[in-house]
């Protein structure tokens, strides 16, 4: 854990200005204001100061100064994170990597791209398109989010089941350690000798090092992609259809599900032609060679019909495919239109429990007096319940948080986990105590100390201090035991 910083704000700023353009050592509240939160805007904090270095050497010097003086460092990309992982520390420095925004090179034959961490996710695929290649993980914030942040969060997207998460799509990272050393983890080979530090770094939420370069793998763009939309009059049938496709041996490029509330909100927003009376909607995208897609689309249509779909529609053109996706991709802003505020959750569950989980959630919705709409990365069991609330109504956000906590606990009870892709950050730090016991959490703290002995990197995020866990678990409504295994309901 960090101790009290040994320098004042003015001294620190002066030290940084000796080697960083003074315009990019920000100390005034007005200019620092945009850094007070990330995409999780309910959690805010003003930092001590903000620095925007532009060379790796400058990052090293920042880290050395902060390490010597026990000053917390919060690395930041585009600030699109949804768990307050980039929320500043009030006694610390925000280390923005915004100036590291260069695509260093793309090697079309090796199918790799070398990137500075501030390169936007979508920019990789846009640049690689000239070679018929693209970068697999496509989080919904991909227009803005950066590859450095993707590594920190192990970001996914709608194509994970087939193409994997960030951890499956990177070859190496260059990082600056808490002590200011530059180390390379991974290589141009598909694996390296010894323990897999690249996997450990991926998803470590800025607690283990500052990534200053990333080498990613690129994939050949599929010849064809087509999407089948299937509507169901019952959530259970929709859930069964997900299993049906997969048991049939088809691994869709994307497999998304929406519940009745999300269907209507998304259709109002995008006019995608969704079946508005359906209780569950599946979008199943198949990609590959022309022959393969043709074969699998026909099979998918048949599976959906057999499993009771009330409507089945297959995209016949790129325009139609884009339209069908438009509704899903705009589900968040669509829900934003029907409520002053919404809170996006990120639990994962074994797919077979989808109907149970959605039904329970409806009950909780009544109990808490808050509406909830669900979009679901059905292929990989990643649920995004959107709780609708009004932050201007006193107590409503607190009620929303309590509802959210219950949802995450239910995810753990059925054998899932508290976060599939948004990370723990500050937001879900209390629920870590539900998914892990004290020995496991202590092991995480020990891993952290191996990289960051002084505890300056993103302190207070990701892994809770054990004393808080005991308090959280002992709260009256959290009396269920620390149950890791299968759901009690079967």
């Amino acid at each position: 854990m960090t101790t009290k910083p040994k320098v004042s704000k003015a001294e620190l700023a002066e030290q940084f200005r000796a080697f960083i353009d003074p315009d990019y050592v920000i100390t005034d509240d007005e200019t620092m204001k945009p850094y007070e939160c990330d995409g999780m805007s309910m959690y805010c904090e003003m930092p001590l100061l903000v620095v925007l270095p532009e060379t790796v050497e400058q990052v090293q010097r920042v880290m050395r100064i902060c390490n010597e003086n026990a000053v917390p460092v919060v690395a930041r990309g585009a600030g699109t994170g949804l768990s307050a992982g980039a929320m500043p520390n009030k006694e610390g420095v925000v280390l923005s990597l915004a100036k590291f925004n260069r695509i260093i090179d793309i090697d079309p034959l090796a199918r790799t791209a070398r990137l500075q961490p501030g390169v936007r996710n979508l920019a990789i695929s846009e640049d690689a398109a000239q070679f018929g290649l693209y970068y697999g993980p496509d989080p919904s914030s991909q227009i803005a989010c950066t590859i450095g942040g993707n590594v920190a969060e192990n970001s996914g997207g709608v194509h994970c089941l087939k193409y994997g998460l960030t951890v499956h799509n990177i070859l190496s990272v260059e990082m600056v350690t808490a002590e200011g050393d530059v180390v390379n983890v991974g290589s141009d080979g598909l694996d390296s000798c010894g323990m897999d530090l690249l996997a450990l770094m991926t998803g470590s939420e800025g607690l283990l090092g500052v990534v200053t370069e990333v080498k990613v793998k690129l994939l050949p763009k599929p010849e064809v992609a087509q999407v089948v939309m299937a509507g169901f009059d019952d959530v259970q049938k929709g859930g069964d259809a997900v299993g049906g496709i997969i048991s049939h041996g088809i691994i869709p490029g994307g497999l998304e599900m929406m519940d009745g509330h999300a269907i209507i909100a998304a259709d109002d927003f995008a006019q995608a032609g969704y079946p508005r009376d359906a209780k569950a909607l599946l979008l199943c995208e198949v990609d590959g060679t022309e022959e393969e897609v043709h074969e699998h689309i026909a099979e998918a249509e048949e599976v959906f019909r057999k499993l009771g779909a009330t409507s089945v529609r297959t995209s016949q053109s790129e325009e139609e495919r884009a339209l069908l996706w438009k509704g899903r991709k705009s589900a968040f802003p669509a829900v934003g239109r029907i409520s002053p505020d919404y809170y996006c959750m990120d639990g994962t569950i074994p797919r077979r429990h989808i109907a149970y989980v959605l039904t329970e959630m409806e009950k909780m919705s009544e109990e808490f007096g808050l509406r909830v709409a669900n979009v679901f990365h059905a292929g990989d069991g990643n649920l995004h319940p959107l709780i609708l609330f009004d932050a201007n109504v006193p107590g409503e956000f607190e009620r929303t948080e309590a509802f959210g906590s219950r949802i995450l606990e239910m995810c753990v009870e059925v054998g899932g986990c508290i976060t599939g892709e948004h990370g723990v950050g500050v937001e879900k730090i209390r629920q870590m105590a539900v998914q892990f016991n004290d020995e496991e959490l202590q092991q995480f703290h020990d891993v952290k100390a191996a990289f960051d002995p002084a505890g300056i990197l993103n302190p207070g995020k990701g892994v809770p201090a054990l004393r808080f866990c005991q308090e959280y678990r002992s709260l009256e409504h959290k009396q269920h035991t620390h149950e890791h295994t299968e759901a009690a309901h079967g």
Partner: protein
């Protein structure tokens, strides 16, 4: 089929109390890997910790005790038309899933299907304090806490005893077919990488003895249409050929007289000029080399090719067998080891002399 985790835990605690070391053994088929085991250490036998704990074909998730033989797992999956997509090498009937993860071993499909590390979703691990911990989960996505599960891949058991593994499994491809043609070693690197850059159902690419082998797999129509467009003869015994490659039963790997080196390098890098013979797999990313020499002679060649080298089998196993680590990384790895196994109980010196 037995859960002996309690017994394993007691053995670890006993070793800790008495200051003894433990060599972790599963099926014992990978004893040749890593540095020579510490002869004074006791044996911790995980081979009897077996059985499938949970398997739901529609979830594509399998949870299994670490001592379970690969063959048993594959037979169970096959009944549901599924498989271990990373094609683990069997070095004998006793090869286990735990050892496969600890050694990070994957077969010819690895660049496309992913490695054993890629498929791991969660583990249970006995650390050096005798704590039986659970990391990751049984779902495709889980970013709560550090990825301790995948950290184990390649650690050769130095961080603890893997007792249970949850992993992603996949449907068996409906059809597969292998194309073979003659090609020189210099030419083949460009050829394999160009093929891999096409959006076609390629799932393996290797070169040995002047011939390049490409495997196509997936929907029958897609496989056949691609085979018609690409050059090369359809190989009659394609599946058998890949099975030999997977299990390192191909004659290139035969015999123990000449050391076997593994170069994990950039797929497009030129093959190093060394005295010996090469087997190029993973479309160029994994290159096997048979030839005499020391690790320090091989390392510059591996570095120039953007990767690392290890002495996979044979040679001097009292010296280092894994690519040299820079000081900063050594420090981090020592501290990670200390975080999991503070008394240095597990597999001492097996990965590096200094760990």
């Amino acid at each position: 089929m037995a859960d002996i985790s309690q017994q394993l835990k007691e053995q670890v605690l006993q070793a800790r109390d008495s200051g003894h070391k433990l060599n972790i053994v599963g099926g014992g088929t990978k004893a040749f890997m890593g540095r020579e085991a510490d002869v004074d250490a006791g044996t911790l036998n995980v081979g009897e910790h077996t059985g499938i704990v949970d398997y739901h074909p529609v979830e594509l998730v399998l949870t299994v005790r670490a001592g379970t033989p690969l063959s048993e797992i594959e037979a169970t999956l096959a009944e549901e038309g599924q498989c271990l997509h990373f094609e683990p090498p069997h070095f004998g009937a006793a090869s286990t899933i735990g050892g496969t993860l600890a050694c990070n071993l994957s077969g010819p499909g690895r660049p496309w299907a992913g490695s054993v590390r890629d498929q791991v979703l969660g583990i249970r691990l006995l650390n050096g304090k005798g704590e039986h911990l659970r990391f990751g989960g049984q779902v495709m996505k889980n970013v709560a806490g550090y990825d301790v599960s995948r950290l184990q891949a390649g650690a050769l058991g130095t961080l603890g005893v893997i007792t249970e593994i949850s992993m992603k499994v996949m449907p068996k491809p409906a059809a597969s077919l292998t194309l073979v043609q003659e090609m020189g070693m210099d030419e083949v690197i460009h050829y394999m990488n160009s093929r891999a850059a096409e959006p076609k159902p390629i799932t393996a690419a290797c070169w040995v003895d002047g011939k390049v082998y490409l495997r196509l797999a997936g929907a029958k129509s897609g496989v056949e249409a691609t085979a018609e467009k690409w050059s090369g003869e359809v190989m009659e015994q394609g599946d058998e050929f890949w099975r030999q490659v997977q299990d390192m039963q191909h004659e290139f790997f035969a015999g123990n007289d000449v050391p076997l080196w593994r170069f994990s390098v950039g797929s497009t890098a030129a093959t190093p000029k060394l005295e010996g013979t090469w087997f190029i797999d993973w479309a160029g990313s994994q290159r096997w080399f048979r030839g005499a020499g020391e690790l320090k002679d091989m390392e510059p060649a591996a570095r120039a090719a953007g990767g690392q080298v290890s002495l996979f089998r044979g040679g001097d196993r009292t010296a280092e067998v894994m690519h040299h680590q820079p000081e900063a990384l050594k420090g981090i790895q020592r501290r990670i080891k200390n975080a999991f196994d503070p008394d240095n109980i597990f597999n001492p010196g097996r990965l590096y002399s200094w760990l």
